[in-house]
Amino acid sequence: MTKKIYGYNGIILDVDLSSGKIEKKAINPYDLMNFVGGRGLGIKLLWDRLKDKPGTDPLGPDNPLMFMAGPFSGFPAPSSSRTCVVTKSPHTSPVKSRYAHASTLSFSNMGGFFGPELRFAGYDGLVITGKAAAPVYLYIDDDKVEIRNAKKFWGTGTDQFDKDFIEELGDPRFRTCYIGPAGENLVEYACIINTAARAAGRGGTGCVMGSKNLKAVAVRGTRQPEVGNHKLFLEALEEARQKFKDPGIYSNWRTAGTAAGLEPFSGSGIMAVRNFREGTFTQVDKIGVKASMKNWVRSFACYCCPLACKKSGKTTDSPFAGLVHDGPEYETGTMLGPNLMISDLKGILKAIYIADDYGLDIISLGNVIGFLMEAREKKLIDKKFLDGVDLKWGHVDATLEMIHRIAARKGVGDLASKGVKALAEEIGQDSHKFAMHVKGHELAAHNVHANPPRAMCYATANRGACHLNGTSIEQQNQIALADSIGVCLFAMGGYGLYGHDSVLIGKLMRGITGTASKDNLLQAGERIYNLEKLFNYREGFTRDDDVIPDRFFEEPLTIGDKKGAVLTRDQFKTMMDEFYTKRGWDLKTSKPGAAKLKSLNLPV
């Protein structure tokens, strides 16, 4: 009687760590059609699970932590490696709400090999609720699923754990993800790491994982879902592979990864410099691609990705000689470099390594340290407040020391582990003006003064400030779709999805699922974005929360080509009015309108 679903396993693995109950639950086919998978299916499940529980404590047992794969995951379409971790955020909060634990949803997208492997094991997603009595890890080997003791691993950094865990599992073909000490200690912006340096970085997913006493998940599988239209699938796959043979699609990624952005973004005044005070870093040549390349050993790729943007390297001199490291990427290199006025590349690499090892989101971390440096410079806090750590612009050693304290939540590190919003509330004295966050979630390394659409991108992002939210409504819907399919945003050049045409994506989807049309897909992106907004609205987030820090309106850039650039409040208001109107959301409250929700088949 039930119609066979192609392109999916149709199964969610549901694990309750409190009771130890492990279930395989069928996914409602309607949800797959309407919410695609990955990020989309994640928000749908979150919505359903917390239906009667608005204001759920994100660190309580009811909050589901979900690892979601998309319909492309596990098929060899180029760059289809992504896994979306979806949960309720431990790191966001509204201006006001009736719920003490009000927060947005959180989703964090990671590359690597985990999502495809989850699909090989027979699942489209993994949902973890409850809290284990003692540290555990989850072992998934096709149908064999076990909750295992992880006591001996608790406290281990991600780099060492990555090695130890594979040894414990006895087969390097297991795909794993895990938290470091930061997640164990419930640092609000702890991340989940896989392959020692790939991260579901943003939104505090590692903190939620730590709250469940879950150190790691390991998965290994032997199967693959059946495709719906095999012939079309093969045709589309061949077309995609041919397309990705164009060096224009991959060469920049292979050469430099995201680090390619370091010099040009500084040049065009849109880099995060000195806690977002400036957009240009005058010493960028010291930390840019040319300098970084000298340390790089090789490029690495995620599952079936022809881009290979991950750079691994080693430092040969400086006090950090012998360090085997990842990156810098644009974000990590900027947030722990120019944003802190650090031009010592080796120092940046050391900081990146330590942060990865603790399992910290480097974007939020760079914000926190930058905020503290600025507060100290402005004499709003003193060295005593910082427990003697001599945190000043450009100081590598003090930065490293602060990272240690944050991960351990020691002294000032405890307050700093809650992010810049909490720090500004504690310090007061108008420090909120340079606490760079939206809804509590810190800004990424893309500055706003000289790039007004970025203001809308940050202000409206459903997980709090997010540079991957998209700078137009069309882009936002497209990205929501890509995150749900399981395709990497960096592959948009090849797929032509990202505000342009998405014929190839549609063709692959039709091949894999046997149904799906292009129009359906674009609408699915919009539906997903709207359900996320609906979730946030129910928690108490309104237009009052869709704001950006005062800095962008009050302090024009003083250096670089974009010197003088600043946003006006009118400009921002106009942009936002247009956004809500086009979205079909209420101008005053930002509540999604009934007509829009109805057209998307969402609850009104």
């Binding site: 090999f113 090989f120 390097p172 392959t195 093969l234 690495f300």
Partner: protein
Amino acid sequence: MRKKTVLVTGASSGTGKETAKTLIGEGYTVPLKSEENMSNKGCSQQSRPGLTRRKFIQNIALGGGALLLSSRWGLFSMAHAGEGETEYSMILVDYNKCTGCRTCETVCSAYNHPKKVNGKLLNGAGNPFLSNIKVYAFNPDVDVPAVCAMCPDNPCIEACPVDPDPATGRRALYRYSKTLAITNDPSRCIGCGSCAKACRVGVIIPHPETAKPERMCTLCNGEPQCVKYCPFGALSQVKVDTNQQFYAMKPEKIAEKLIAEWYGVSD
């Protein structure tokens, strides 16, 4: 001139031993298998006859020179005997170019595990579990695709305890005539696992239920898909050269060396 090597299955006992002795007397090198391998559980009941002296001499007469016993047992050997040493080809990995994307696994699987659609055989969807080339990832970052090394001395075939078929001369494991790729005849294979144990790289994996060997590289019938589709040009089909730096080494061993070389650490 290269040494002439002859492999004699069962050379450590019985008639095989006699044959081996004779051959050594005639100046051939005859590698002997360890006793441990010979007494594998499940294999011990199978007869392991060596060649009879007469049979061997017949073949010498036919081939007239340097020969490898394994190739003599395949039909192929007849055609190639007399041309000197058999040339095998294999997939060579350039570890400097490999990024660990595993595209090779998916195209290998797709080609070697086709799917019947409306009566037509099409490529499969590329489940990497079924691939004959397997990428192993290490920390610090090193990715090592492991694939059949096509060892000219055939440790896997040599380990096969199944009697040669009188008509074809093949054991259960043999060299497929067209590509010389190691192939298993499941109808004759007894699933003893000796070949997997003998495999130097560790690519041969016994099926979890039948225990029959799988994952030997087929060279895709002459057009290796992994070579064709590797986005990074890290794979090529080359003549087997046992002197090549990482030849027939286990992935862990290769990783160890590369990690030391690239990152200057031993872990």
